[in-house]
């Protein structure tokens, strides 16, 4: 199931629970899968000194991000026994309470799925050229930082 072509991971706006359900449902035919490990990033209505966050606007350096994601994906398939791996990241505006990142790793056994998903989330946060701008209720903006 290893994908050797560069896949797009970016979607416009937030990722809906319905899309997540459809992605899960598509794996019912892959009867060698025993474990799915999923990570969802949800936009927080953080209370900053500058005001409350009402949304995050995401931008990317797309060509570089997709190439980087491809290398991350290949390295994880090399390191772990995985069946499949899907990543969806929002671009544009995602309101607080909605989902901006959907990471989905499946394997025969849980340990590979969980370890790969955990590594993948860290790689996405720190190796993908993506930037989040927090839009406050008062329309001011603060650039997001990852920790």
């Amino acid at each position: 199931m290893k994908a050797n072509t560069i896949k797009d991971i970016f979607v416009d706006g937030s990722i809906t629970p319905q899309e997540i359900a459809e992605s899960i449902a598509q794996h019912a035919t892959k009867k060698n899968i025993g474990a799915h490990s999923i990570f969802l990033g949800q936009v927080r209505a953080d209370e900053k000194t500058e005001g409350v966050v009402q949304a995050i606007e995401y931008t990317t350096y797309k060509d570089m991000a997709l190439e980087q994601m491809h290398m991350i994906r290949e390295a994880l398939f090399e390191k772990y026994e995985l069946t499949c791996m899907h990543v969806y990241h929002s671009l544009g505006i995602v309101p607080a309470g909605e989902i901006s990142l959907f990471v989905f790793v499946s394997a025969v056994h849980r340990k590979a799925a969980i370890a790969a998903c955990t590594e993948l989330v860290e790689a996405i946060k720190f190796q993908l050229p993506v930037w989040g701008k927090e839009i406050l209720v008062n329309q001011n903006t603060v650039w997001k930082e990852n920790h």
């Binding site: 931008t59 050229p129 993506v130 997001k144």
Partner: protein, 75 residues
């Protein structure tokens, strides 16, 4: 060459890209940009040439694409 700005750098340059010529490496390019946008000196950013991150001074050709990128904050 084509210069790309991302994240908070766009707040400084007020543009997402810009065509520049006459610089032959990333060090002279940075000096040129800092003269044009003094606020660039006080922010942290990485440089990628044609989509590859660079750590040291790197020669540039006229058709190169140079990206200035602040720390990533996706997810």
């Amino acid at each position: 060459m084509n210069i790309l700005f991302f994240g908070n750098l766009v707040d400084i340059t007020q543009k997402a890209q810009e065509a520049l010529s006459g610089t032959t490496n990333t060090q002279t390019l940075q000096a040129l940009l800092c003269k044009k946008y003094p606020a660039l000196q006080s922010v942290k950013y990485f440089i990628a040439v044609n989509g590859k991150m660079i750590q040291e001074n790197t020669p540039l050709k006229e058709d190169d694409t140079v990206a200035l990128m602040p720390p990533f904050s996706g997810g």
